[in-house]
Amino acid sequence: MNFQGYRRPDGSVGIRNHTLILPTVICASETASRIAAQVKGTVTFTHQHGCAQIGQDMEQTFKTLAGIGRNPNVTATLIIGLGCETIGAEKILKAIEREGKPTEMLNIQDEHGTRRTIKKGVAIAKRMAKTTIRMKREPCNVSELVVGLECGGSDVTSGIAANPALGAASDMVIKEGGTTILSETTELIGAEHIIAKRASTPHVEERIYEIVKRMEQKIKATCADFISGQPTPGNMKGGLTTIEEKSLGCIFKAGTAQIKEVLEYGEKPSEKGLVIMDTPGHDVESITGMIAGGAQLIAFTTGQGTPVGSAVAPVIKITGNPRTYRTMRENIDVNAGTIIDGKETIEQVGKRIFNEIIKVASGKRTKAESFGYHEFAINRIGPTL
């Protein structure tokens, strides 16, 4: 099956044409925002990181920023650095440029401050954005799609309706040769034995147990019951009592396919089909990791409703709660509450989600895109110095 996408020179397929204004460090975020605000066709986000980081934590932040620039939805990137930060603009530039995409950089210190950086930045961004206008969509196969699976603001309907329906849609994407990513390792706790049975090799099975154990050890090292953070107060109000119950509901969104590999945070899949990425349950850190890993689109189930979006990838919101669909319709793209009402089957709603994925991949705007939402958060794994 085909959708209408943009074929890139490196062979990858994008579903949006974004010119990304990428701040390397928090100190450059405001300047990047001022540039993006003046140029149509650009996107940006603010983040807190890029400096006073070391080791694996620094690497993870670098990989994430570079991965966002490499995402096939990004046609060109203008990197805005400060000049003295740990993860310099040049390092990110080299990592993105390798994919053969137009990539340029400006350091605020080299440009002698705000005014000249913005002036030059706006000129570069306008030139970059102009080239995207001429690009035409063409038929691309679903096998080129990487869909990130996410759930957030869960309630009981997530495990009964929205996640099983998204699981059915995930199976359809995979049947067409595409790729889906299950993330949120925290929400595998208590359900890992079920997922691990679907591993394609003993190594993949081992890796599933390994990432769950690693997450559990990190949580236990804080000496706090994680019940104070997971399930969240909203989850509990919605009827979810324990992390095990939440996890068992969460994994339904990965359907029934075999698990091909387990990726680190922000890593690009090397296999097609269903893969797992090690991310926290924090929605925005999780989707940021999957987008850095090349997901062009996120399918996001929610029980209680959430407006979250992304600068780079469209986020399709699906609720299994009929009340949430009524009250937060402006933020929800697909109503899976019909399963709870007994009007549709899981399979029927799964088909509707799959159709929505194809439409959004072909250019239909999601609710989060219409609002221009662009949340972004990098998962940190080390101290800030």
């Binding site: 236990k220 009827g239 009592t241 068992l248």
Partner: protein, 99 residues
């Protein structure tokens, strides 16, 4: 009274049901457990999405939903009672405790 579709049992090993609408105290609820149908009186108000016991659960015994353990009973739970944070605790979510 409309007893149908008020609550859902997701697996025949489960000892709790999930309310699909707000259920008032004293409501007679019919649930399907596998091929069997069972009737029970809900003796506490159950909000939409919350769980209630469909059999007596002793303190320390596992609570099953989706056919899997979701934690253990922190105190004895009787048929028809609300099952939530006051009487069901996580096994995996506790600090400094081995499974």
């Amino acid at each position: 009274m409309r007893p149908a579709r008020k609550a859902l049992v997701l697996h025949n090993r489960d000892n709790v049901a999930t309310a699909l609408s707000d259920i008032e105290v004293g409501t007679l609820v019919i649930v399907k457990v596998g091929d069997q149908t069972m009737e029970l009186i809900v003796n506490q108000a159950i909000p939409f999405g919350h769980k209630f016991a469909i059999e007596n659960i002793e303190e320390g015994q596992p609570v099953y939903k989706y056919g899997e353990k979701i934690g253990k009973a922190a105190k004895p739970i009787k048929v028809g009672q609300h099952v939530h944070t006051h009487n069901l605790e996580s096994i995996r979510g506790k600090a400094n405790q081995q499974q």
